[in-house]
Amino acid sequence: MAHIDLGNDLPGIRGPMAYRPETAKPLNELAELLLRDDNNTLSRGERELIGTYVSSLNDCFFCQNVHGAFAQHYLGCDMPFIDAVKRDPLSTPISEKMKALLRIAGKVQVSGKRVQPEDIEAARNNGATDREIHDTVLIAAAFCMYNRYVDGLATWAPQDRQFYIDRAPGRAAEGYIDYDLHK
């Protein structure tokens, strides 16, 4: 049960978003821009993978499954692949650029100060642009917010991971702004 009376029984971040729509609006706008906007050289799948990885490091069940399902949908991969990236990105056949960006994201999850010039250099050497590095840091930072919002209020989450997989295609089409929190 959530720490506060949200006045609804929606899962995960939807509960507090329906409870306080004023803050839901910028939270969703930020997610739409960072994860779904097409004016970005990182694919939607890659950006969702960064969100998934950070949510996994933060041990946020709801977020890592929602965004893992999005990543799986966009990348056309399976759940074991997503789980392997969460466990050890270096062991997976993702691009060297993505490995370098996930390394940065993993450091941001611990603390912004952990990111070292060498990490940035490694990403650049693998083709990452300043904009891509910027967005990686901000996606990782934003998930340190979303994850804490979800778990800090003790929201509930469906435990069947297939639930998230089944919803992902429809939710991916709707995006983060024009969707019904109650559906």
Partner: protein, 192 residues
């Protein structure tokens, strides 16, 4: 120097926001709601929660700038702001604010660190569900802002007087694109 070339010399989050104004917009809107709303928790108290979380995250730019903004609402009481940073339990603030900062400090570690006992304690001190909601989200949001600033090694001014001028500007005008589109600070605001 920032890790990336942001094409400007603006300090802290301002430089990053000017680099990516599309992302700055929702972040500014979020900050305005969370820090400028006055229902249940005052602006000064909201800034103090943000200052404490930023201090725990060791983000000098954020805890100095939000501390300066808090100070604007507290008749310039820097000593109080500094005590809330380092030792809020013994600071002359309300029991309710202490209970809310306790929750915020847990959120800084992890959302899962918040306990039912901490929520109960806040309720006993008169905190409403909305107060608790806003506290958790302010703390969570600063775990984002702090990481954004330090993760990209944003420029941090060492001249502490610049934070006071900015604090005054924020207290008067709120958050939004003016924080990165008006630089240097208009003379009229510095002179006040």
């Amino acid at each position: 120097m920032p890790h990336i070339d942001v094409h400007n010399d603006l300090p802290g989050i301002r430089g990053l926001m000017a680099f990516r104004p599309e992302a700055a917009e929702p972040m500014g809107a979020l900050a305005n709601i969370l820090l400028r709303d006055e229902e249940g928790i005052s602006r000064a108290e909201r800034e103090l929660i943000a200052t404490h979380v930023s201090y725990l995250n060791d983000c000098f730019y954020c805890h100095t700038s939000h501390g300066a903004t808090a100070c604007q609402y507290l008749d310039g009481n820097k000593a109080l702001v500094d005590q809330v940073r380092k030792d809020f339990r013994n600071a002359p603030i309300s029991g309710k604010l202490k209970a809310l900062i306790t929750i915020a400090a847990s959120v800084q570690k992890s959302g899962k660190a918040v306990t039912p006992e901490q929520i109960e304690a806040a309720r006993r001190e008169g905190a409403t569900d909305r107060d608790i909601h806003d506290t958790v989200l302010i703390a969570a949001a600063f775990c984002m802002f702090n990481r954004y600033v330090d993760g990209l090694a944003a420029t941090t001014p060492s001249d502490l007087s610049s934070y006071d001028a900015r604090g005054r500007q924020i207290a008067e005008r709120g958050y939004g694109s003016h924080i990165f589109s008006t630089f240097p600070i208009p003379v009229s605001e510095v002179a006040q």
